[in-house]
C-alpha cells in the first residue's frame, strides 16, 4: 500500500457516496452538494494518476493536474448556475422541491371528489 493507492481508494469511496446521495436525496440543494462530493472524488482520481506518473524529477505528471485545475473552476461555475436556478425556483414557488407529486396528488383528490 502506498499513498496514491490509499487516496485512490478514498476517491472511489467518495464517488460512490456522491452518486448514492445524488440518486436518493430529494432536496435539490443536497443534490448540488452530492454532485460536488462526486466531482471532487473524480478529481482526486486524477491526482492519483498524476502522482503515479512522477518522472524526470517532477513529483507528478503536470497534465492531469492542469486538467483538474480547470475542472475545479468549471465545476464551480456549474454549481453557481444550479444554485441560481434553485433560488429562482424558490422565489417563484416558495419551495425548492423539484417533485410535483404533491401537486398531482392534490389534483387527483379534487378530481375524485
Amino acid at each position: 500500500m502506498n499513498v496514491p493507492t490509499i487516496l485512490g481508494i478514498c476517491a472511489a469511496g467518495l464517488i460512490g457516496l456522491g452518486l448514492f446521495s445524488l440518486i436518493v436525496e430529494p432536496q435539490p440543494l443536497r443534490k448540488i452538494l452530492a454532485f460536488n462530493v462526486l466531482g471532487n472524488g473524480v478529481f482526486l482520481f486524477f491526482g492519483v494518476v498524476a502522482r503515479r506518473g512522477a518522472a524526470v524529477g517532477l513529483f507528478g505528471d503536470p497534465i492531469p493536474q492542469a486538467l483538474v485545475i480547470t475542472g475545479i473552476v468549471v465545476g464551480f461555475s456549474a454549481t453557481a448556475l444550479a444554485v441560481a436556478l434553485l433560488l429562482r425556483l424558490f422565489d417563484e414557488t416558495g419551495s425548492t422541491s423539484s417533485r410535483d407529486d404533491a401537486q398531482k396528488e392534490s389534483k387527483s383528490e379534487r378530481a375524485d371528489s
Binding site: N2, V3, C10, A12, L19, I23, N36, F59, D61, V74
Partner: protein, 315 residues
C-alpha cells in the same frame, strides 16, 4: 507501515467520514459547513499527492468560494420546511441505489489497485520544451502553453455560466445590481475584519498569481483569492456590486478571453499557428494574458456568487 502511509490512511478515513456526514445529516446548514471542511481536507489530500497547484485552487475555489455560494443559498431557502425527507425513495429504491454505488466504488477500487505499473506519464513531454516558454512551473506551462486552448475555452464556460445566472433576473431588475439575496446589515466586527483582511488578501492573490510562473500558484488560485476578498467587501457593505449593465464591468469580465484570442490570432501570423507564441516572447505574452485572466476569473467568480441582479438602478 511508515508515518507517511499512516497519515494518508488517517486523512483518507477523515475525508470519507466528513463526506458521509455531509450526505447523511438532515440539517442542510450543517451539511454545507461540513462540505467546506471536506474541501479543505481534500486540499490536504492534494498536498499529500504532491500537487500544490491543485491544493491551492481546491482550497480557494472548492472550500472557499463554493462555501460562500452554498451558505448564502442555504440561508435563503432555510425558511422552507424540511418535509421532503419522507418523499425520498423507499428502502427498496435506497437499497438498489446503494448496491449500484457499492458496485461502482468496488470497481473503482479494483481499477486503482490494478493500475498499470510503471504508470504512463506525459511528464517528459511536458518538461521537454519548458525552457522555450520561460516558465519554471510545468503545470502553468501546460495551462498557458501546451493546452492553452482548454484554458481559453474554460474562460468561455465561466462567462457562459455567468450569462446563465444573469438571465434568471426579473425583467424589472435587468441592468441593475446583484444583491446576494438579502444580506443582513453588516456588524462592526465584520467591517473591521474586512478592513484588516482585504489588503493582505489582495497582496496574497497577486503574489500567488505572480509566483505561479515558477512555483505553485497561478491565475486560478490568485483569481479565486481576489474574488473571495471582493465578496467579503460586499458582505461588509464597504462597496456595492457593480451593475450588470456597466461597460467597465463587462470589459473586466471579458478581458481574459479578449487577450487570449488576440494572442492566439497574432500567433497565426507571427508564430507557428493559433495560440502559438513567437520564440523568445512566450514569457511576456503569457504574463500579460495571465494578468487579464486573473482579473477576469476574480470578477466572474465573485459575480457568480452574487447571483442575478435583484435591485434596479432606478430608485
Amino acid at each position: 507501515m511508515t508515518i507517511g502511509v499512516g497519515f494518508s490512511v488517517a486523512l483518507g478515513l477523515l475525508i470519507l467520514a466528513v463526506a458521509v456526514f455531509t450526505i447523511g445529516t438532515r440539517d442542510s446548514f450543517a451539511a454545507v459547513v461540513a462540505f467546506v471542511v471536506y474541501g479543505l481536507l481534500l486540499s490536504l489530500g492534494w498536498m499529500n499527492l504532491y500537487c500544490p497547484d491543485v491544493a491551492l485552487t481546491e482550497a480557494a475555489v472548492g472550500g472557499g468560494v463554493t462555501g460562500a455560494l452554498l451558505l448564502n443559498a442555504c440561508a435563503r431557502v432555510r425558511s422552507e420546511k424540511t418535509s421532503d425527507f419522507k418523499k425520498s425513495p423507499r428502502w427498496i429504491g435506497r437499497g438498489m441505489a446503494g448496491l449500484l454505488c457499492l458496485a461502482l466504488s468496488s470497481g473503482l477500487v479494483a481499477v486503482v489497485i490494478l493500475l498499470p505499473n510503471p504508470a504512463p506519464t506525459l511528464a517528459p513531454e511536458a518538461t521537454r520544451s519548458l525552457s522555450a516558454t520561460g516558465l519554471g512551473n510545468p503545470v502553468t506551462a501546460v495551462l498557458m502553453a501546451y493546452r492553452a486552448l482548454d484554458t481559453m475555452l474554460e474562460k468561455v464556460v465561466l462567462l457562459l455560466a455567468l450569462v446563465g445566472v444573469w438571465s434568471l433576473a426579473s425583467d424589472r431588475f435587468w441592468g441593475g445590481r446583484a444583491t446576494f439575496g438579502h444580506l443582513p446589515e453588516p456588524d462592526r466586527p465584520l467591517i473591521f475584519l474586512t478592513r484588516v483582511l482585504a489588503p493582505v488578501g489582495i497582496i496574497a492573490g497577486i503574489y500567488l498569481f505572480w509566483v505561479g510562473a515558477d512555483a505553485p500558484g497561478g491565475a486560478f488560485a490568485g483569481g479565486a483569492i481576489l474574488s473571495a476578498i471582493w465578496i467579503l467587501v460586499f458582505f461588509a457593505g464597504l462597496s456595492v456590486v457593480p451593475a450588470v449593465g456597466s461597460l467597465g464591468l463587462r470589459i473586466v469580465l471579458s478581458i481574459g478571453i479578449i487577450f487570449f484570442l488576440a494572442a492566439g490570432v497574432a500567433g497565426i501570423s507571427m508564430a507557428a499557428g493559433f495560440l502559438a507564441y513567437p520564440e523568445g516572447f512566450a514569457k511576456p505574452i503569457i504574463v500579460v494574458i495571465e494578468v487579464a485572466m486573473t482579473l477576469s476569473i476574480g470578477a466572474t467568480l465573485g459575480l457568480l456568487v452574487a447571483g442575478p441582479p435583484g435591485q434596479s438602478l432606478k430608485p
